[in-house]
Structures are given as C-alpha cells and as structure tokens.
Point group: C2
C-alpha cells in the first residue's frame, strides 16, 4: 500500500500557466481562433500535464495487460477462457488489432501477463508479472482478496516505472481478458448506481439469452460481495480484475510522472474510474480516446467527466482505440509546434469587424 | 462540357463483390465480429471502390484549391480578402495547418491557384490553373458565368489526372478562399431548402452583427440570381466559387478512376454536393472526414447520406479534417491486410452459445 500512497502523493494538479501559454501560442498561429477545436484543447491539456511548451510525443507506449476472470465459468462470454492466453501469443507475434494500430501510430506495445490463469511460455517481448492466476468467480465470492487488488495496482506502478526508463512521452492503456466486460459492468454499477441493464453490453458478442444471464450474474456478484462504493480498492477486489487493477496503477504512476494517459474503451475506463476514485486529480491526465459500443462506457466517461475524441463503434479493447487517440494527440502537438504564426508567415490578422452594410 | 460528360460516363457503381469478400476476410481476423466498427466499414468501402482485396494506401494526396470571392466586398468575412493569397504562400512554405496535418498523415499537398484574384508569384510547388480571377459579387450578379463554372470543374478534372500519373491511392480535398462559407451556405440553401439562418455560420469568426449581415447577403444573392436546384452547374455558377467547382471536378475524376475521396468540411462538402447532384454514384466514393462546426455542414452530409468519421469541432478547412480522415482510412486498410486470422494465430473462435446457467 505504501507504493500506492507514495505515487498518489506525487500527483499534482496540472499547470494552468502552461495551459494559458499554450492558448496564447495557438491564437497566434495562421488559422482562425479556435478553428482546430478539440486538437487545440488536446494541445493545451498535454502542455498543462507535462509542464512544457514544446512537449515531445516521440515515445509512445501502449500498455496491454492480460488477465483471466473466474466469472467466465458462469457463461458470461462469447469466447472460451483460453482465448486470453492465445491472444497474448497473438500480441507477441504482432497479429492482433493492437499491433496493427500501434504500428500505424508509431507506438510500441508493452504486453504484460498480470493475471493469466495459466503459465505462459517465456518470450523476451512478454513481461510476466503475475499478481495472481486469474480472479475467482465473483458470482460466488470476491474476485480477489484486498491484498491481491493492492498488488495488482502496485504491479501496474512498477510496470510503468520500469518502462519509463526507456523513455515515455505519452501512453495508451488497453487490456485482454475473457470475461472482463462483466467485471467492468459490475464496477460501473457500484460507482454510478445505474441499473445493471443499462450498463451491461454484449462484450465480444453474446446473444440475448447470454446477455440476460450476464445481467443476472452481475446482480448476484454485487449481492454476494456488497462492494463499498466509498472504498475503490474494495470494489476492485470484489468485482474487478488483475488487469483492471494494473491499468489503474499505470494511470496513477503516469500522472505522478506528468505523462498523459490515453484511455481506451470500457475496461480501461473501469480502471480509469478506480484511479479517479482513488485520486480525482488523475482526471486531468486522462484523454478519453473513444466512445465504446459497450453501453456502460458512456456512464463511466460521464462520471469522471471525460469527453471521448472518437466515435467509431469500436469494442475490441486491447488499446486499439487508444492507439488512434494517441495519433490525434500527436497531431495536436504538431499543430502547436510546427505551424507558422501570422507574423512569421506574413498573413494579415482578423480585421476589426465593421461590415460594409 | 465534353470533359465532364466523359468523366461521368466512366463512373460506375462500386463493386459489391469486393465489399462482400472484404467482409468475409474481416470476419476471420482475430477479433470479435464487427468489433472494429467503422474501421471495418471503411475497409469494405475502399475495397469496393478500388476493386481490390488488398488496396494500397501508400500514395495519399490532398488537393487544396484556392480562389477568391467577390462577395467579400459585402463584409461577410472576418478576414480581409488578401488573406487568400497570403495563405497560399503559407501553404507553399509549409506553415499552415494543412501542411502539418498532411505531414502527420504522410500525404502530399497539391496547392492550386484555381481562382485567386491576383497573380501569384510562380513557385515550383504551386499549380497555377486559373479558371478566373475570383468570382463576382453574388449579391449583385452571378458569381460566375456558366462557362466559368464548367471550366472550374474541368480544371479540377485536369488537376486530378495530371497528379494521377505520379501515383494516387486515396485523396483528400480542401480549400482556401476568404468568403467561401458564404458561397457554401448559399449552395446548401438551394439544394436542401433549409432556412438560411440554419445553414449559415460564423466562418472564420464573425460576430453577431456580421452574421446577421451575412444571412441577409445570402438571401439577396439567392433572390438576385434564382439558382435552379435542378441544374447543379447553374447553382455552382451563380452562388458558388472556382475552388468549389474545381473540387467537384476532382471528385468526379477520382470516382471515374476508382479512387476514394476523403471530404473535408463545409466548403468541400458543398463541392461534394455538386458532384453528387451531377452524378449520384459519386456518393459511394466519398468518405466524410468530420463534422464541421459550420452549421450548414450537417445538412449537406444528411442530404448526400454521409456519416462523418470525426467530430472534433474543426472549422479550419484547407483539407485539415481530410488529412485526419485519411489517417483513419489507412488504419482501416492496415487492419484488413495486416491482422492475423483465427486460424493463422491459433486462436479459438467464438463458442456456440449455451451458457452454463
């Protein structure tokens, strides 16, 4: 717990001075005031986070954390449980969606086994840092004990800090874990108090009958465990997952080191929710990449107060939406740092308005 | 007019066989069915357009056409008229928003003077192909005579075909022209029959008083010229502009050569509207990059039947939104062509749904 407390202590509010300086600079660039909309907002946010007028977006890293979920034995997912491990190998071989989109964006993918239920084959591209071997079935008992949830968060902090040594300017977070939309829905229910039906989706593609079952299982998990909304670690432990805890740790660590975090979809959103509940200042370090098809996601974004950049009907996870979001963040910083000013380009500024009527 | 007719004759419906083949391939990739949402739709559209299962997105070109508008003498714009020419020099020097975002996307920018009111300094990066020296003041007379409008479209066709020799896989279209939101609003009014107030925005940033004036000027232009909604070239001539006609020609030419066209914002949208009215089959070749802040834009997209990819509150033009849209199109094709299949990656497919209840 000390590592978490220490990390939180280092998280400060973002520097409004740099936000204001960035606004001034944007207003001198050869374009109508504010005409690059949310790209300008992004540039300001990133300058405020980093405390730099000219932040680098060279080193882009996507953390994709994998873990298993005991609740899969209740038939909540469209895919068999072994797909978690199979997809980790796919990440390592470069064949998954996240590999393709991270390459497109120029980001490297850090693949972590933080809680896969089986022992994976060692691979120099795979970080094995298990906080556990999959969660327990939350419909019957807590998914994790409190110490495991804490360990998951601390593991996330460690993963971030080890990668930081290699250079990080901006990160994206993503995950792989068959059954993890069930965990994310349960967590969302606790914090937002929305009816389970509103925040439970089809995950990887379950049918109506399975969706009905999934909703019942989530209700059961909440009734059995009674997670305490005022204690985010209790919620994470009882109905969360190892990868969700790890991503929460990564967010806390990134914020403590003034690094912007691009949040992927629903499960990454659940991790962001825990981080926000642990330390609300983390919100200003978060960039919501996109609006997921999973119905619970918009409630998470609303609860934290984030506005997604993209609305492309994505629901893959892995960090795929975050990869696209990082591309927009990079575009925003390039606008700030590479465009000419009215003065340097010899372009006339906006005239005083007095139309010839 | 022969060049236009000839171009239209070569535009065919997109190949549904390739759309279906692409769907099949997408469904075998290691991701839940349809989970990459609009990226998957984009991939299908591009395969249908190009008639290829493995289309290239290497050669990306953004056409930025510049022209002046006589209606600026009515005080409809926040910037003085000379900014059109000044911004062309900014494009050539690489300091504008479009330069930065095109570089980010890996696209080259083709800058064309198709109707700037002054003679620009020759530059090897500038294509000077004037269809006229700015339009006339549409509040008093037709902006162009019919022959000029036709010449503008034909010039666009020529520009595209000359660049095609250098290699083009996908294009974006954009523009620069002080006063051209006034033209775009007038054109939108003719085709959509929406009240002028609903489709007239602040352009580069006029105040309330100037906006009221702009609306009155557009009403006057429509009353004076009575453009015929059933004759798109009449509309283009009377209340359009040279760059809008040129972009329309580029769309027609691109469609005739099976090249996808990423449409930027409001003014590019007005060009798309003319192309669509001339030949409705062009619609399937269009990709709407984003939803502009300019209120008329959504009516254009609705009228053609396009759904924008991005909603970032952009209103700069130049092709900036198109550059970001091209990035998404490229990502979509990479997903299609670079991801592993369930079989190649050894990942289990979706199970038959029979949850353990």
């Amino acid at each position: 717990m000390n590592k978490i407390k220490e990390t939180i202590r280092k998280i400060s509010v973002i520097d409004q001075g740099f936000v204001n300086k960035t606004q001034e600079r944007l207003d001198n660039l050869t374009k109508p005031l504010g005409s690059l909309g949310r790209l300008e907002e992004l540039a300001k946010q990133i300058c405020g986070i980093t405390g730099k007028t000219n932040p680098s977006v060279e080193n882009k890293v996507i953390f994709t954390l994998a873990a298993d979920h005991g609740v899969t034995e209740e038939g909540v997912s469209a895919f068999p449980k072994e797909v978690t491990a199979q997809m980790v190998y796919n990440f390592l071989n470069g064949g998954a969606g996240i590999n393709v989109l991270a390459n497109h964006t120029g980001a490297r993918v850090v693949v972590v086994d933080i809680g896969v239920a089986s022992d994976l084959k060692p691979d120099k591209k795979l970080i094995i840092k298990k906080a556990g071997y999959g969660t327990k079935n939350m419909a019957r008992c807590p998914a994790m004990i409190r110490e495991e949830a804490i360990k998951a968060i601390e593991t996330g902090i460690e993963i971030f800090e080890e990668e930081l040594n290699k250079g990080i300017d901006i990160i994206g977070i993503g995950e792989m874990g068959i059954g993890n939309t069930t965990a994310a829905s349960a967590m969302t229910a606790v914090f937002t108090k929305e009816p389970i039906e509103n925040i439970t989706g089809r995950g990887a593609g379950i049918d109506d009958k399975s969706l009905k079952n999934k909703i019942e299982i989530i209700k059961k998990a909440l009734a059995v465990n009674k997670p305490d909304a005022d204690d985010p670690i209790d919620v994470l432990a009882k109905v969360g997952g190892f990868e969700i805890g790890g991503l929460c740790g990564i967010i806390l660590a990134a914020a403590s080191h003034k690094i912007p975090v691009v949040i992927d979809g629903f499960i990454s959103g659940a991790a962001a929710l825990i981080a926000f509940k642990i330390e609300p200042k983390t919100k200003d370090y978060m960039i919501a990449a996109h609006s997921s098809v999973e119905s619970g996601h918009k409630y998470i974004l609303k609860h934290i107060g984030l506005k997604p950049l993209l609305d492309l009907n994505l629901r893959l996870g892995e960090g795929t939406g975050a990869a696209l979001g990082i591309g927009l963040a990079e575009a925003a910083i390039k606008i700030l740092t590479q465009m000419a000013t009215f003065k340097s380009a010899g372009v006339s500024e906006k005239k005083k308005q007095d139309p010839i009527l």
